[in-house]
């Protein structure tokens, strides 16, 4: 029982990650694919921040009377990763806009038929 209480947080996060991953692989619409990528990445961020949590601790900003702080390093890493994520999203969406202009559709099974692309 204790084991479940200690780990349920991670298991839900794994479930969330896989939800995002599933959307990326199966979505037919390219915008939805990008949403899936974002869900996938956001869930990984929750994993990192869960790692950083210290029970009974406080946010890593020096406060009087506080003795326990949560770990600031994962916070820093995820700040960077969030920014990387939005950069990739912007590029992906820009590509989608161009694909729409070139093919007239953003559904994967439709433009696949239009070119003999490999």
């Amino acid at each position: 029982m204790n084991f479940i209480l200690d780990h349920y947080n991670y298991w839900i996060v794994v479930f969330l990650m896989m939800t995002g991953f599933y959307i990326v692989i199966t979505a037919n619409n390219l915008v939805k694919k990008i949403v899936g990528l974002n869900v996938f990445q956001t869930s990984v961020f929750i994993l990192y921040i869960s790692e950083a949590k210290v029970s009974g601790g406080t946010a890593p900003i020096v406060t009087e009377g506080a003795t326990l702080y949560s770990n600031p390093l994962p916070h820093v890493l995820i700040l960077t990763a969030i920014v990387v994520g939005v950069a990739v999203t912007a590029v992906g969406l820009a590509l989608i806009v161009r694909i729409k202009r070139a093919y007239g559709t953003v559904e994967e099974n439709e433009f696949k038929k239009m070119d003999d692309a490999i």
Partner: protein, 326 residues
């Protein structure tokens, strides 16, 4: 109590995620993603990661969602039925998930202060950074100083996104004649409210920029907020008017200047005999040096992020206006 909130929020996230899988209305999908992002930000607050929560709310629920909506305006809001089977993806996802669950079995209990993750590197940040760097916000200390090279990389990633979007979509031309349909100018209430709140937003951005040493915030969040103020302006008064205020050419210079400002701090510390980005060498007193260094690099981050976010919005907004005219 905090564990209970955590559980409730995670359950809501799971529901949101599942709903996204089955929805075919993309507008709803994007909105649900915005909710997903906001819920995540709440979890981050609950887990004591205030800086991250701030950024997630501004970026995930803010910028990303706006860009996705802009794209939907161009591509249509219905997902069509796909023909390929969903068995293989399900197997791949199942195996990946099983591997991760297997990995969690050896994980230390959630929140235990004795976990190895809290033992080796982190104690120095917590115990010594207030003395070594002189800032109460440890996240800023680690971000800007101990791992300043990562943050330089992050700024360059943002810059790279600008290059990509410029090459794919181009930017609106300056001095274009004003399109009549542009913006929401006919809505008197919106105009007045927008005029009222734009300057406080910019003021708030400046506060976040320079207060990041003490509380949550910093260059990245400030840049996003300042960009949001101008995006609001562009939405209400039309893209050509916003372009007239700050043109895309100027933004391009700003984006480059922010990266160069950041790097120049590094080169100056090299000139002073230290390693790249060694702020201790910037002033006679190492702590003062750290302070100057962090102030300038955060400014560089803020400038680049502001310029890039606004340029990206211009590029998307321009596409939408073009398709509206046609």
């Amino acid at each position: 109590m905090s564990d209970f909130i955590d559980l409730v929020l995670l359950a809501m996230l799971a529901l949101t995620g599942l709903r996204i899988i089955f929805l075919k209305d993309l507008f709803a999908v994007v909105m649900l993603f915005g909710i997903y992002s906001f819920l995540t930000a709440l979890i981050f607050i609950n887990l004591d990661a205030v800086d991250v929560a701030f950024t997630e709310a501004a970026v995930g629920a803010g910028i990303s969602t706006v860009l996705m909506l802009g794209t939907l305006a161009l591509t249509g809001r219905e997902e069509k039925e796909s023909s390929h089977s969903s068995i293989l993806p399900l197997i791949v996802v199942f195996i990946t998930g099983a591997a991760l669950i297997y990995g969690t079995l050896d994980m230390e209990p959630f929140g235990n202060p004795d976990n190895p993750i809290h033992k080796h590197v982190a104690p120095r940040y917590i115990e010594d950074s207030p003395k070594e760097i002189g800032l109460p916000n440890m996240v800023t200390s680690v971000l800007a100083s101990y791992r300043g090279f990562d943050t330089l990389g992050e700024v360059v990633v943002v810059f790279a996104a600008l290059i990509a979007v410029l090459s794919l979509l181009g930017v609106p031309k300056e001095g274009q004649q004003k399109a009549p349909a542009s913006g929401l100018k006919s809505h008197q209430v919106l105009r007045v409210v927008a005029k009222l709140i734009i300057s406080p937003i910019i003021l708030f951005a400046l506060y976040v920029q320079f207060h990041g040493d003490f509380g949550p915030g910093g260059g990245f969040q400030a840049g996003v907020i300042a960009a949001a103020a101008l995006i609001l302006y562009a939405l209400v008064f039309g893209l050509p008017n916003a372009v007239a205020v700050i043109g895309p050419r100027f933004l391009k210079f700003m984006a480059a200047a922010g990266v160069l400002l950041y790097a120049s701090v590094g080169f100056f510390s090299m000139y002073k005999g230290g390693n790249f980005l060694d702020y201790n060498k910037l002033a006679a007193d190492p702590v003062a040096g750290q302070h100057y260094g962090i102030l300038i690099i955060e400014l560089g981050v803020g400038i680049t992020v502001f310029a890039v976010m606004l340029s990206i919005y211009y590029a998307f907004g321009n596409q939408v206006e073009r398709s509206n005219i046609q």
